[in-house]
């Protein structure tokens, strides 16, 4: 969060987190496309790390003008330093879950990594706003919702279902995390 008391502005950082190729990049690409705007893209080996500065979309939090900047992390282990760097100052996390059967263990492993990455910056996974997005719901072998909630969403946070490639559930997820962030930080601004 970057707070400017003089200008009464606050900028929140949202990070799309999750295993490699779970659809984080697709989500952010769609968000930018939906607004007809460009985003910053840094190519890691098999996927891109994206940054989308949503300066045009403003909300109000306790008299402050709130804007949002969205980041994706690189899912590959070799870029762990970049992942940790991107997580610095994260105000909210969209945890993009790959619904494919064979990726359950990886989804679970990345949640542990998220917890560790947050701890690096003194944050607790049980406190920070997090939304789970179960992506690729159109897969034939998609894990049932109940199982994902039981196995992956062990911290019992709000969730959405999505087919990001078809732009389904993308905006709903974004709105949900924005509302979670505003609600969480609204309490601090009291």
């Amino acid at each position: 969060m970057i707070l400017d008391h003089v200008k009464k502005q606050v900028k929140f950082k949202i990070v799309y987190y999750g295993p490699a190729l779970s659809g984080k990049t697709t989500n952010v690409l769609k968000i930018a496309e939906n607004r007809g705007e460009e985003l910053l893209s840094f190519n890691t080996r098999t996927e891109r790390t994206l940054v989308f500065d949503m300066t045009k979309e403003e909300r109000e939090v306790k008299g402050f003008k709130a804007t949002f900047i969205i980041y994706t992390i690189p899912g590959q282990d070799i870029y762990s330093e970049i992942r940790k760097m991107v997580m610095r100052g994260a105000d909210g996390v969209v945890y993009v879950v790959d619904s494919a059967q064979d990726r359950l263990q990886e989804n679970k492993r990345f949640l542990e990594m998220l917890s560790d990455d947050l701890k690096l910056y003194g944050k607790d996974i049980s406190e920070i706003p997090i939304v789970f997005q179960y992506n690729k719901r159109d897969l034939e072998n998609a894990i049932p919702l109940e199982e994902l909630n039981r196995e992956v969403n062990i911290i019992n946070r709000p969730f959405t279902e999505a087919i990001a490639i078809k732009n389904k559930g993308v905006e709903e997820t974004l709105n949900l995390i924005i509302n979670e962030i505003i609600a969480y930080f609204g309490k601090l601004f009291r």
């Binding site: 970057i2 400017d4 910053l40 840094f42 190519n43 890691t44 080996r45 790390t49 940054v51 070799i78 870029y79 330093e81 970049i82 760097m85 991107v86 610095r88 100052g89």
Partner: protein, 465 residues
Amino acid sequence: MISGSIASSQDLIEVLSTIPINKRGYLSILSKTTFLALKVENGRIKGFYTNYDISSSKNPLSLLIFVISEMLYEAEGYFSLEDNTAVENFIEIDVDVESVVIQATILRKEIEEVIPYIITTNVRLSSETNPEYDGKLFGEILANSDDPIEELRKLKDLFERGALWVKEIKRAGNVEEIGFDYILDAVDASRINVTKLIEGLKRVNFSGYVEIGEGDNLIYLFFKEGKVFAVSPIEPKVFDALLGPIGSASVSIVRLKEEFVETFAQIYVGRPSIASEDKYLSLGKLFITLISHKEEAVLKVVHGKEHYVFIFKEGRILSAKRTNKWVENFKVTFPIPNFVFLYRNIYSNNVGYAFYLFLLNKLKNILVRWNLTEELNALYKAIAHIPFLYIKENDISVTRALTKKEEKQLVDLFVEISDRAVERLGKEEFEREMELELSPYREVLRVLDFSEELSREYLREDNPS
């Protein structure tokens, strides 16, 4: 002002991606020998300057990303954020800090993957199939590319296919050496004829120093192009030590680059403008200030038995470290200091006043021998009045390295007292007495040849300073 030290790549990333957010000013970072100054404004980089020696870049952003990626390798140094800077020639740019750091980190990560092919990033490449890379430096290729990460991937592919290889390994442009070369290393002094040694070094236009002694009792003779320009310590015993070996003394001869010998000699014969315990100053701030201002200076840092020397010249750093002997400190490791000495006005020539101090002591011997009480009292009175003179173990000594003005004071004192001695003894007797005093040193003084020093400007009547 915010400042601190950097002990790892993670520290450097923290500094780069947190400090510029919501702040405006100049972020200066020194890691090893690489200096980077960033003009930052609310999370954006508006300009940068680096001392990283790389040919001009078509794409400043690629240059910046490459330099940061280089700094991320074993990062160690200091940073400061200030409102103003002495750094000039900023390259204008307007980019988001975090995006630059992300790209530099990706680049560093992927450079490490090609290291098995290139060993170091300071290499010139060769290719028969890709003439655009043939004969080019690895860093230059990346720093001049449109996208250094994409360019690196192309290079990696060529390395893997054997279409690109290393032609030569180069020393990085911003890494220089003081040139320590131990010609003789702690050789038993009884095997050395010192006067012949000095003559030999003069003959070959030697630049460097000779170290004679044992333990903490070491004397140094500094040479530049075959001429002795400084001795250490400035005590009459230096000349005695040159007469012959003392106890189990040893001799070392160390060659240095001619351009750095006077600068290096500062730490032995110079007058520090700062001499402090580390707790009273910030070493990091000192480093960044000296580089930003492109000052010529020498920094000596003492940490236990280790001595470090850092030579600053035109925004570059050279460094050496001594435990038993001096070795180049190419990677520039920064010590945790106990004591810090900064020498700014490089003035190393002390053989003139060292010789007059020697003569003054010989004059004192004559006054004592002839029982010239009045003149002796005048001498002691002058010593009591002149702050830098004192008596140590019956010898007249100096408390510190002298300024040119102080040198003149010393020479004036010698001239005044010797004139009075001549008046009492007569010129002939005085000369005979002085001849007697100097006779054991005749050979040493002949080879040292101070004739030039004895005719220096401060001896002339028409030159008051």
